[in-house]
Symmetry: C2
Subunit: 106 residues, 2 copies
Amino acid sequence: MLALIGDKWSAQVLVELGDGPRRFTQLERAIEGVSRRMLTLSLRNLERNGLITRTVYPDAPPRVEYATTALVEEIREPLEALGAWARRAGPAIVAARQAYDIRSPN
Amino acid sequence: MLALIGDKWSAQVLVELGDGPRRFTQLERAIEGVSRRMLTLSLRNLERNGLITRTVYPDAPPRVEYATTALVEEIREPLEALGAWARRAGPAIVAARQAYDIRSPN
DNA sequence: CTGCATCCAGCATGATACTG
DNA sequence: CAGTATCATGCTGGATGCAG
């Protein structure tokens, strides 16, 4: 699982594509801090693993759209459960972190 | 979320601790390929984020047990859903990979 | 617009040795 | 048993420039 989307950006790409197909530049702008290089690599990797599709439209200027496959739809629900948990648990995590840092001031 | 357990070993640690508390050496043996150093770092990180507890028993020889916290219990279900999906989707992923590699022989 | 190639720095990780 | 300390290194990923 983590071998598929465990890197820094792939998960975010999947989140963006959750609302529907997106173009390369749209993703680049939506995902704060991603470089063109890393976005390309992530997209290639996701495509290779069958998690997204890449569609080239023969226009000028070039247009490429990325979309999630059925494989990803199957896990949308547990993924969103995890997302909800992350938002809920955020404060507890921060608190735990502060408590730990006070106990071990290194 | 991935910031918490996105590294190479933390997720596996959580899986091992899913069956109950474990000692340092038990984890080291159960998790194939992990070095003492990385196991230590992962455990410290999980502890700092409040996902596991570390209990030292004042015995000779020393004994330390790690266990998951309630925070982790909350996501056991979606996590297992993801695991089940990973096992089911495995073959499809491999197939997609082969198809891709044939299309793009670089 | 959508990439790919190259270069290079920095961090993460493994190996190894040592300790309470 | 359960770590810590130190060193060497390899890969990740950013920056930059080029291209169809």
